[in-house]
């Protein structure tokens, strides 16, 4: 760990998030340079959780933009609610002033982050789902920290530059202009040592033997050949929860090679079958 303090805009991890010093300094430098941070990595390496952790530890409100494939950039910025306005003009029984368009402009997630009085954390999750145009256009907005509302011809500029975290699951790279504008980090899958810490944070009073056995078995099963979707941290946590809840299950069983609840770890049926075969055949991990 570097000697960063939690007090003034320095990030050093949160309650349920284990942070390595490398990532901490990357987060800090991205905040200082006011550049978005693009995170890649296998599912389950805590890309999304990082944003939650930053917001928690620095006390900044978190705004999440879940990117969808059909999304248009404008939806992320603002929406002009024509329907309400039409309805109001018809009946005139609302408190809104129909002749004032601005009353009918609703901010989208990016708009909210810009308009907030306090500095916010803006998480743009799974950017790779959208098409490249969306990505590039969005980066333009984030670069300039402002956008126009066409209906009112008003420019919205950010009061406080939000801390922007972008995650991507894509195996292929994003476009060059996009990459040029953000910092990049690839979160590797945690090694067993790291994983012990993660489990320790999630289950503070778990039986040490059970945790160790489960982690060993987990990494063993990740190495089974031909698995399409390897179990990730989320699956391990759920699995340990299941083992923990089962009063008939004892920590020493796992050492003996008894591995129940495979379905928690493997969610695709061919994977499940393969894991089951491997477990029953070898009885060792």
């Amino acid at each position: 760990m570097t000697d960063i303090t939690n007090s003034d805009n320095h990030f050093s991890g949160a309650n349920k998030y284990i942070l390595d010093s490398e990532l901490a300094s990357i987060v800090n430098i991205s905040m200082a340079l006011e550049m978005p941070l693009l995170l890649k990595g296998e599912p389950g390496t805590g890309k999304t959780m990082l944003a939650y952790a930053i917001s928690e530890s620095l006390g900044m409100p978190l705004i999440v933009l879940n990117v969808k494939s059909s999304m248009k950039l404008i939806e992320a910025l603002y929406q002009y609610d024509t329907l309400t306005r039409l309805n109001d003009s018809r009946f005139g029984d609302s408190t809104r002033d129909v002749s004032n368009i601005e009353e009918y402009i609703k901010m989208g997630k990016i708009g909210q982050a810009f308009c907030a009085d306090k500095r916010t954390v803006l998480l743009i999750d799974e950017i790779d789902k959208a098409d490249t145009d969306f990505q590039d256009d969005m980066l333009d907005v984030l670069d300039q920290m402002q956008f126009d509302i066409i209906e009112t011809d008003k420019v919205i500029s950010a009061k406080q530059r939000p801390v922007i975290i972008i995650t991507s699951n894509a195996k292929k790279d994003l476009s060059d202009p996009f990459l040029g504008r953000c910092n990049f980090h690839h979160i590797a899958f945690p090694d067993p040592k790291m994983m012990r810490k993660v489990i320790g944070v999630h289950f503070p009073d778990i039986d040490k033997k059970l945790a160790q056995g489960a982690i060993d078995a987990f990494f063993g099963m990740r190495n089974i050949e031909g698995i399409e979707k390897k179990p990730a941290t989320r699956e391990l946590i759920n699995w340990i929860r299941a083992l923990d809840a089962d009063s008939d299950f004892h920590a020493k069983d796992i050492v003996k090679g008894k591995i129940p609840y495979l379905g928690v770890l493997f969610k695709k049926s061919p994977d499940y079958q393969r894991a089951k075969d491997a477990v029953s055949r070898r009885r060792l991990f």
Binding site: S25, I29, L33, L83, D131, G180, E228
Partner: protein, 397 residues
Amino acid sequence: MFIRFFYKLKEVGIPVTPTSFLTLQKALQKGLILSLDEFYTSARAILVKSERYFDLYDQVFAFYFEGIPLPENDGFEVDEIAKAMLDEWLKNPRELANALGVDESELKNLTPEELIEYFKKRLKDQDGQHHGGHKWIGTGGTSPVGHSGYHPGGMRVGGESRNKSAVKVANERRYKDYSTTGPLTEANMAEALKRLRNMTPVGPKDQINIDDTIKATMRNGGEIELLFDRSLRDRLKVMLVIDNGGWSMDPYISMVQTLFDYARSQFKEIKTYFFHNTIYDYVWEDSARYRKPVKVDDFIKADPDTRFIIIGDASMAPYELMAQDGTIHISERSGKPSIERLQFIQDTFPNSVWLNPVSERMWGYTHTIAAISQIFPMYELSLDGLEKAVETLMAKN
């Protein structure tokens, strides 16, 4: 500061940009980077934008700051070429050994690592450029490695486009193993059908239906109620062209037809045609390929938006594909080689794919598969392949 470091990164083939270098300078100037450790992580986050270059970055970093010599500074490209050669070796040891002019058995004793080292050495032995020979790696030769040469079964190992293409090659190879599922069977028909579901273009519900809106508003006694329709997008037209000549295709024909038959309602129309081995001047509407010939030239009249799907094993004698009178049926000879016909179809229907029941691992062995997959995006007739094919078919042009 660190300008040499920057250029070293560029030299080994990491795509670094001046803008990002300036950002790094800004960070340094602001006093954000205080130790070498911080410099290591920060410079990487700012300069290197893909995890694929992390390893290379590490090497350059160690070289620049700690004087550790770059491991045989071959750069990324040579690495990749050597890897490609290893792949080729695994597929076809004799040919590669011949191309390098060494004894096959000599290479056989080496481990993969040693092989890579050996290939690298050979690559470096080669002084300057080499074009048109038949032993070395260069361009236009007959060696299986290199590019734009005659040896369609061989592979491209990067040429003019330099680093990028090698990276792309590396990238493609890395995910090659992902589609391990075998060919489609009746058992996973339902799964396959699900993959096809994605072949429906639907617009968002964003168009006001004026008639319905008026009606609904009247019924409400004047209170406005707006009704929306999905914006109109026409359903797809599909042409299914099946190779039904030869026993190798038999198990798949009825299955593929059933598959698309089930999915029929989601398409505007499906037309099925048949051919044998490869397409010449005609395809047939009847499976006996006798009664109802359709001229390939007439395809030009069809909607170019049609999704054109060819199912065949693409395996035949090379001359059937390349020669001017390649067809085995004398009545079909018109002087145009089949490969030109295929290109014509691909030009007519930009959204076309070729589904091949032959396992992808075997494609490298068959000359004609390589040649045809240059024209059509080719996918395995498996669940994974089908999924990818649908993705390609639905991609925006």
